[in-house]
């Protein structure tokens, strides 16, 4: 980890993960070599040779310094500083740490016992390969951070579900909905970010397959145009996609979403019973047990099978 500089506008320190810095620098050198440009490579190896020749120096440490100096020489830290300058809300932050992302980019806010605030941003090394890309990545992540800092947004770190499988599913949806909220606002005020509307719609289409296809675009558009969302809203939309329909002004009555719980047994189902209305005796039997239930609420194959066994026998 390396301390870089104190921004004059903001009192925040920015620290870079040495692993990330190395990977970025080495990749940029390699790309330049491939294009026949050896200037940076020769400079790098000239300094590196001195480190190899020097006896008993901590090589790893010396190399960290070398990589960071090239990182700065390439101006990558300047790009980050510039984007940080776009977010005055960050003046409340003491420190920012930029790490290498294992899978996808993410941002988080950590508060120490003494109240020190630290932002952790994880970025993939590929994100640094052009300053254009880097500024878009940073802007996207910092928008998340400013939501986290916004009291009205009401960000809370919480467990989404007690089951790990559900946690993963809800998190995936939560992440996408929040990303949509972040990117749509950035784009609407003319800023560049990592994904445009059509890309986010593609993801939405993939992750929210429970929503019947004919409603998907309408639901997405209403999300994209949201002026204000909160953590709690995003979370409840992730947990119950039915609410996505409702907030887009679509009545969810009679729409049976794949993978949502059957109102009778409570188990998520992909097999809603079709043509229930033709089974008057079964409907009546269900109503005896569930007076509030309406046939538009639907029932899963298994529940209908159970009730028809009860009323019709084998």
């Amino acid at each position: 980890m390396f301390f870089v500089r104190v921004l004059w506008v903001i009192k925040m320190e920015i620290k870079y993960d040495s692993r990330l810095v190395e990977n970025v620098v080495v990749e940029i050198i390699r790309r330049k070599e491939k294009e026949g440009d050896y200037e940076l490579s020769e400079y790098y190896h000239r300094i590196a040779d001195q480190i190899y020749d020097a006896p008993k120096k901590d090589r790893e440490d010396e190399f960290k310094k070398l990589h960071l100096s090239i990182f700065m020489r390439l101006g990558l830290n300047e790009v980050i500083n510039e984007v940080v300058g776009e977010f005055p809300q960050l003046s409340k932050i003491d420190e920012m740490v930029i790490l290498e992302a294992n899978t996808t980019e993410e941002a988080d806010l950590l508060v120490s016992e003494k109240g020190q605030k630290r932002i952790v941003i994880k970025l993939p090394p590929e994100g640094f390969l052009s300053s254009h890309l880097l500024s878009r990545f940073m802007r996207h992540e910092l928008m998340h951070i400013s939501d986290i800092l916004d009291e009205e947004f009401g960000y809370k770190k919480e467990k989404f579900s007690n089951s790990l499988a559900n946690e993963i599913v809800i998190k995936e949806k939560y992440k996408l909905l929040w990303d949509i909220y972040v990117d749509s606002r950035l784009i609407s005020c003319g800023k560049e970010t990592i994904a445009d509307k059509s890309l986010r719609y593609k993801e939405f289409n993939k992750i929210f397959q429970k929503i019947p296809e004919e409603y998907r675009e309408r639901v997405f558009n209403s999300l994209w145009n949201s002026k204000k969302l909160t953590h709690n809203e995003i979370l409840s939309l992730s947990k119950e996609p039915r609410k996505l329909l409702e907030r887009s002004g679509i009545s969810s009555k009679g729409i049976l979403l794949r993978g949502t719980p059957c109102p009778l047994c409570g188990f998520p189902t992909y097999n809603w019973f079709e043509n229930l209305s033709e089974f008057r005796d079964v409907i009546a039997a269900i109503k005896e047990d569930f007076p509030e239930w309406d046939q538009d609420d639907g029932a899963c194959d298994r529940c209908v099978e159970l009730y028809s066994l009860q009323v019709r026998g084998f």
């Binding site: 190395e22 490579s41 190896h45 790893e60 190399f63 090394p125």
Partner: protein
């Protein structure tokens, strides 16, 4: 660029250096039908050589589940793809001329496609201060090294039938529809090492006495060109020292300098630790033209050149690797051709109904830590089993099998039938006691 003779490809090929061969060559044979992926080999190497700072992600020996596993991830698929693209660009086809010839100079026919040394566009300058490319390759990222056993036990199944077992009635050889197998790998101590060819510092050398390929830790300056060029991805960069490292073939053991060895050459740590008894390693004599000197009593020579049951891994890469594999019998042949070349059918056929010599030799796998330089099967055993394999009669004999060390001294003397020991003593509860129980 000079040309060298590659007998695995049955032709001359481009290589940045002139032909020069060691007197002996470190080589090994792995029987893939038997590996159980216990990773004992992996841990034997790690606990001996790579337990220090900066070596956390380094596994000189690794065992991966094929087809999906790989360390680094997708190393072979990535390179095969690149090679494929080069073929397309250059209007070539990666085909083998099918005629196989007897003899050690062209055992698998002729490979007419491009090797990694030939697949680069245009001529490349072999050496110089600025690192230049001598072989088609790529540098894996951190993420690709991070999960050495990714996709362990993930089988291949027919496309479009996710989670469905298609052979509800069971399956039978020659090919399974759902399959995977374990591939143990280490540096192949190649005859034409791409790592060596790519090093701008000339820090990599191949030893004259045993063909072991080593990286001079003082000369290496972390260019990682070896990591990029080795098609098997066996050199690895160590961040703590900022130099590359790789399997050293446990050379003190090969030299007989290990305290255990009493001056006699010993097999490496990963070989001798093998629980599945899938491994045998030795030294073969090399002729001045690079082909193996005739030595049918040498176990490795016998498996590779006499019985031809053991095949090189991705010979088309062109480095002439010295690790050989008995292919797994249940895996679709097309996959095996891609991985081991055209010798697959013959190898499987001979392994399925082994000759008396082969069956005897297979019994020697992991019976001793000493390198077996010569083996002998005395065909005087009684017939103990008879059956029909692929329509042909086959019988098993309880022959005597003997292994000799470098000086011709007997180091193993065993029989095809493994000896059975009966426990004699019972404990207080009436159970038979182990020999070593108190």
């Amino acid at each position: 660029m000079p040309e060298v003779y590659n007998w695995q490809l049955g032709r001359k090929m481009k290589f940045p250096f002139q032909e020069a061969y060691p007197k002996k060559q470190f080589a090994f044979v792995f029987n893939l039908n038997r590996c159980i992926a216990c990773q004992t080999c992996t841990m034997a190497c790690k606990s001996t050589w790579t337990f220090s700072k900066g070596q956390e992600f380094m596994w000189w020996n690794n065992v991966e589940t094929k087809p999906y596993g790989g360390y680094p991830q997708h190393w072979d698929i990535k390179l095969l793809k690149m090679l494929d693209e080069s073929h397309k660009k250059m209007g070539r086809k990666p085909i083998w001329k099918s005629e196989m010839e007897k003899g050690t100079a062209r055992p698998y026919g002729v490979y007419e496609g491009l090797t990694i040394f030939e697949a680069l566009p245009g001529e490349s300058t072999p050496m110089g201060f600025t690192p230049s490319e001598v072989a088609l390759g790529y540098l894996p990222g951190d993420k690709e090294w991070r999960f050495p056993n990714i996709f362990e036990d993930s089988p291949y199944g027919p496309l479009g039938k996710r989670n469905a077992f298609v052979h509800s009635k069971g399956t039978s050889l020659p090919e399974h529809e759902h399959w995977f197998f374990y591939l143990p790998r280490l540096c192949n101590h190649c005859t034409y090492p791409a790592c060596l060819a790519a090093c701008p510092r000339k820090a990599i050398y191949k030893r004259e006495e045993d063909g072991i390929v080593l990286i001079d830790q003082k000369r290496c300056r972390g260019y990682k060109k070896c990591v990029e060029a080795c098609p098997y991805k066996k050199p690895m960069f160590r961040s703590a020292t900022r130099v590359s490292e790789k399997c050293i073939a446990c050379y003190p053991r090969i030299e007989g300098k290990d305290p255990l060895s009493n001056g006699k050459p010993m097999e490496t740590r990963c070989m001798t630790a093998c629980v599945g008894k899938i491994r045998i390693q030795g030294l073969v004599d090399i002729d001045s033209n690079g082909v193996w000197k005739k030595d049918p009593q040498n176990p490795i020579y016998f498996l590779v050149h006499v019985e031809k049951v053991a095949l090189p891994l991705y010979p088309q890469f062109g480095t002439l690797p010295n690790g050989y594999y008995i292919p797994p019998r249940w895996v679709p042949r097309k996959y095996l051709y891609q991985m081991f070349g055209p010798g697959v059918d013959e190898a499987i056929e001979r392994y399925t109904a082994p000759s008396r010599d082969l069956l005897g030799l297979l019994q020697l796998f992991r019976t001793t830590q000493k390198i077996i330089f010569k083996f002998e099967v005395q065909k005087t055993g009684e017939k103990i089993y008879e059956t029909t394999i692929n329509g042909k009669k086959w019988a098993m004999y309880n022959d005597r099998v003997i292994g000799y060390d470098k000086d011709g001294e007997i180091v193993v003397d065993t029989k095809v039938l493994e000896p059975i020991f009966e426990r004699k003593q019972k404990d207080q509860f009436g159970y038979y006691k182990h020999y070593n129980s108190i």
